[in-house]
């Protein structure tokens, strides 16, 4: 495919009245509204967490706007076009991850930022969260499903290469998420459940070995402090203790916007990024927390609905994989903040502070809209 094909397709889409089809603007309104609601919650929570620092709010607001535009732009893309460019996206993403390892910038212990001249600094690993399901969906869509064992090996390469590079960046959370994204696509494609169960058991059995021989010091501390935060209340257990105090003191109704003592007085660490749910649960209580969870559940429901209604195998796997990844990301973050899981550095999608994450997530959800749009067009598989 060369560039003139793209131009031809684009020209076709822009031409009104072409073959009697209105190829105008396409949008999935329910999904769009859910995303905007989450972004609105993000801005409200950041207002509390950033202690009136208008710079933080402004940057997040701009990221939300760029994200919304990117989402709508991606939604307009023809799914077939998209499928053709997946290989390049995967290769480009892996190349960027390699670049990060060479010239990346470190922040919060993870060397995951790329600061290229002329571009705002961004995290290629965030984009990879959606490129991996794309790549897997494309790879699997060619074959009859369920996938055979040989195909699984190909999938493993597509997932493990970027995941490995991200592990090298010392960003365990994102690496796990990318692995899970791949796994979700495979599961939706019908991969043998016995295989998954066996793998899970293997991981479970191997984890003590990992803990003894391979786990890094800070990882051990995080796991120990997850089991009992009070073994090191001012160190590794501090975040989770303060987060639980914030959530618990919020009660059913919450302390009110701006009145969250824990967030207002800086007792919640990382209150604008990984622990932003603690701010929401403190200020808006159980009611607010359930509302937020309900939004993610709605997002999941709408995403799965789009996946089921997709007209192609590729679209189906892509939509299902992406929405499960986003939901899983949200769940892991919430479980970590309430103390159900050890602390791993995963932000809350669409809510935590961070421009790249928001824009990447919007692009991912834009893909969902594109899948939905292609399903609405007659007989296009």
């Amino acid at each position: 495919m060369n560039s003139s094909d793209y131009i031809a397709v684009a020209r076709r889409r822009l031409a009104l009245g072409d073959s009697g089809l209105i190829r105008g603007f396409t949008i999935d309104l329910p999904l769009f509204l859910i995303v905007l609601s989450l972004c609105a919650i993000s801005l409200v929570a950041l207002h509390s967490a950033s202690d009136g620092d208008s710079g933080v709010l402004r940057r997040q607001g701009i990221a939300v706007m760029i994200g919304a535009l990117a989402m709508l732009a991606v939604a307009q893309l023809d799914l077939r076009l998209l499928r053709r460019s997946v290989s390049y996206a995967w290769l480009g993403g892996v190349a960027l991850l390699g670049l990060v390892l060479m010239i990346g910038v470190e922040a919060n212990g993870a060397r995951s930022w790329l600061d290229l001249p002329g571009l705002p600094s961004f995290q290629p690993s965030e984009l990879m969260k959606f490129i991996v399901p794309l790549a897997l969906a494309k790879y699997l869509a060619f074959q009859p499903l369920p996938p055979r064992f040989v195909q699984l090996l190909g999938c493993a390469a597509l997932v493990l290469i970027p995941a490995g590079l991200i592990v090298l960046q010392n960003d365990m959370g994102t690496a796990i998420l990318i692995f899970m994204a791949g796994l979700f696509v495979l599961l939706l494609a019908g991969m043998s459940l016995r295989l998954v169960t066996a793998g899970g058991l293997l991981v479970l059995l191997a984890s003590p070995l990992w803990y003894v021989f391979f786990a890094l010091e800070h990882q051990k501390r995080r796991i120990l402090s997850f089991i009992d935060p009070y073994t090191d209340p001012t160190g590794a257990g501090y975040n989770i203790i303060q987060s639980q105090i914030a959530i618990g003191s919020g009660g059913i109704q919450g302390k009110g916007h701006g009145a969250g003592d824990q967030s207002r007085l800086d007792f919640i660490p990382e209150s604008s990024t990984d622990f932003i749910f603690a701010v929401i649960a403190e200020e808006f209580g159980l009611a607010g927390a359930l509302a937020l969870i309900a939004l993610y559940l709605l997002l999941l429901a709408r995403g799965l609905q789009i996946a089921i209604g997709a007209s192609s195998v590729f679209g189906r796997l892509l939509a299902g994989g992406i929405v499960l990844t986003v939901f899983f990301n949200a769940y892991v973050n919430l479980a970590m903040v309430v103390g159900l899981m050890p602390v791993i550095g995963l932000p809350l999608p669409l809510v935590s502070r961070g421009g790249t994450a928001i824009i990447a997530c919007c692009i991912g959800l834009g893909l969902l809209m594109s899948v939905r749009a292609s399903a609405n067009r007659p007989s296009r598989r």
Partner: protein, 661 residues
């Protein structure tokens, strides 16, 4: 792209997909159930626990230290005041790297080596954990803003507004007023529970002098406030406030100008002056020289500076000479003369022929006339009590003391406060020694020998008295027996202070009140009897008093004293700084009260002057006394003491006494 055209069962694939979606939904719902259960547990079941934890995070009850009471002189001039300052403080427990922090601060504010070493010294001493420790006092505005801008990068560092104790007269009041310094763990341990609470916000406590004696009055009651602090310890708002109540302002009898005058009068000598108001017992001046700057102790003195003060074996600036005992020498003679008269051992007509020495019957050892030892020898010739006082004849008192015996001498002298502490509020004053048979057995394990009595009768041997004791005893003589106990405190918050123990010691009773006047007149002659043709018949302080000031408008009753230096420490002997011969010189003493024998004005000041190695009471200590008395009567009280050349004769002493009541 060929795979697309393979044969595929798309329906089955779609069914498989939907089954997997259903499975995912089931798993998701289970996971959400766990999450919601956890949230309910945190936010509903354990809500109260976490609310309390949240309040515990942010709410702090902090003490509001009370403002320490001022110490004022009798004119209301502050001797100890509170200056509002901004101090640079450090909570050592919050500092990550102390050396780096100190180095960073040295770039922001002027920090001397001394201040850093004083800070480290205090760090080593016992202290209350998690309290801020001052590093630099009195930041300038410029330093304050520099620290405010850069200080946030230095955990544990803060700028604290404080009221800092300040002694404007510095070394002039160092011993009498004392000083406050950092409260230490031992002092905190000594507090009972209520007191400990009251000292919650207090960093300094009175260590010496009035500051220590009246700590409980000066301190005040602590206040409380509930404040909200953020995670970095910054105060966000005050939620509750209970005012502290300030300590009481104390008015002293001390007069700052008399204190200055006494300090100046001592000149370059080491020594002490204690001046008392005979009517009230109020201490008008109490000077020990050399002294030190008490403000150094408020900010925490460095080891080096402290070492300099402690190791100065010659000047001993920390040593309060005013309340430490020395041999009183001949200044005891007026008291012994009164004892002789009172006990009937002598009368006005009693005369000895002083050959210049005294021998006990059957003993060949001669007690020489001590004051004559360097001179031409010989005695005072025919000597009565008056002459024995104004010429300071030892022989007369050797004889009198021998006949009186140590027991009678002890009992009589004790009435004037020798060997005890009459002072109402100078608890740390030493009591010296008023020897007796019992004392010697107990203290030395030896019996009393007759020769001990001879030495005691001229204020040598075992007898030791402080300048404070001498001044207080002199005030009793000025009062003709009426006991007034020395005291520093005059008023509390402007109201005159009444001591509970005021009248617990009885007046000194003398058989015939005229004896007081006789001794007083003899003491007047010490300073006012001029030279004449008669050999050795002048007052020993004439040259310093009436002889030096021909236009004197009033009379001073006084007594010179010279006391042998007893034992010089080896460290001083080996010192190269000062000639040892100077340190072997006698101590010079002078006690006095004035105006004496005035028709209208009763004595307004009684004092004792002690000059270390001053050699002669008459020529060195008496001029100091004269200067101090002049300053009090003429400059400060501005009394007109001139007696008009009146045709009427001076009122008899008994009438003057009558006007005193």
């Amino acid at each position: 792209m060929t795979g697309r055209w393979q044969f595929r069962d798309f329906k089955a694939e779609r069914a498989l997909f939907i089954r997997r979606v259903a499975l995912a939904c089931a798993v998701v719902l289970a996971m959400l159930a766990v999450l919601v259960a956890k949230l309910v547990n945190l936010q509903v079941t354990r809500h109260e626990y976490y609310s309390a934890r949240s309040d515990g995070n942010r709410l702090h009850v902090q003490y509001v230290p009370p403002k320490r009471g001022l110490i004022l002189d009798r004119d209301g001039v502050p001797l100890a005041e509170n200056l509002p300052v901004y101090n640079l403080t450090i909570v050592p427990e919050e500092v990550v790297d102390l050396d780096a922090t100190l180095a960073a601060l040295a770039g922001l504010v002027a920090l001397s080596e001394d201040e850093i070493s004083a800070f480290r010294d205090r760090l080593r001493r016992s202290r209350v954990p998690y309290t801020s420790m001052p590093l630099r006092y009195m930041l300038t505005e410029e330093e304050k803003s520099r620290v405010a801008v850069h200080g946030h990068r230095l955990p544990g560092v803060a700028i604290e507004p404080r009221l800092m104790r300040h002694y404007p007269f510095k070394e002039l009041t160092a011993h009498a007023v004392g000083y406050v310094s950092h409260i230490n763990q031992q002092e905190l341990d000594a507090l009972d529970e209520a007191e400990f609470e009251n000292y919650g916000g207090t960093t300094h406590v009175g260590k010496t002098g009035v500051e220590r004696t009246y700590e409980s009055l000066l301190h005040g009651r602590v206040g409380h406030e509930t404040v909200e602090k953020n995670n970095r310890g910054r105060l966000m708002r005050v939620l509750e406030h209970a005012e502290a109540s300030s300590g009481s302002d104390l008015g002293l009898h001390l007069h700052h100008r008399l204190q200055i005058a006494a300090h100046q009068a001592l000149g370059d000598y080491r020594g002490a002056v204690v001046a008392i108001e005979p009517e009230t017992g109020g201490i008008l001046a109490m000077v020990s020289k050399p002294a030190f700057d008490p403000n150094l102790f408020v900010t925490g003195i460095s080891s080096r500076a402290y070492g300099e003060l402690v190791n100065d074996a010659v000047n001993t600036p920390l040593f309060d000479r005013a309340i430490n005992p020395y041999p009183p020498g001949s200044t005891v003679k007026p008291f012994l003369g009164l004892a002789g008269l009172h006990l009937g051992l002598i009368d006005y007509d009693f005369i000895i022929d002083d050959p210049g020495y005294f021998q006990l019957p059957g003993v060949s050892y001669r007690w020489n006339n001590y004051t004559m030892r360097t001179e031409i020898g010989g005695g005072h010739g025919k000597t009565d009590l008056a002459k024995a006082i104004y010429q300071s004849s030892d022989t007369f008192f050797y004889d009198l003391g021998h006949r009186m015996g140590i027991d009678a001498m002890h009992d009589f002298m004790a009435q004037f406060g020798f060997g005890g502490n009459l002072a109402l509020d100078i608890a740390h004053a030493r009591i010296g020694v008023l020897p007796s048979r019992q004392w010697k057995i107990e203290a030395r394990g030896e019996p009393w020998y007759p020769g001990d009595t001879i030495n005691s009768s001229i204020g040598q041997g075992y007898m030791w008295a402080t300048p404070l004791q001498l001044a207080a005893a002199t005030a009793v003589v000025a009062n003709e027996g009426r006991m007034v106990r020395p005291r520093m405190l005059r008023s509390v918050d402007g109201r005159p202070h009444a001591f509970a123990k005021e009248f617990s010691i009885s007046d000194v009773f003398i058989e015939n009140p005229d004896y007081w006047r006789y001794v007083r007149d003899a003491m007047v002659m010490v300073g006012h009897r001029p030279y004449s043709d008669v050999f050795r018949d002048y007052g020993t302080a004439y040259e310093a008093i009436a002889g030096a000031d021909r236009d004197m408008t009033y009379q001073i009753a006084g007594k010179t004293g010279t006391a042998q230096v007893v034992g010089i420490s080896q460290s001083i002997r080996s010192s190269k700084d000062i000639q040892v011969s100077d340190l072997n010189k006698d101590h010079a003493l002078f006690i006095a009260f004035a105006p004496a024998n005035h028709p209208l004005v009763r004595p307004r000041i009684a004092l004792a002057v002690f000059v270390e190695n001053g050699e002669h009471g008459g020529s060195v200590a008496a001029p100091v006394a004269k200067q101090v008395i002049d300053a009090w009567l003429l400059e400060i009280l501005q009394l007109d003491l001139r007696v008009e050349p009146d045709p009427q004769p001076l009122a008899p002493a008994s009438e003057i006494a009558a006007t005193r009541e």
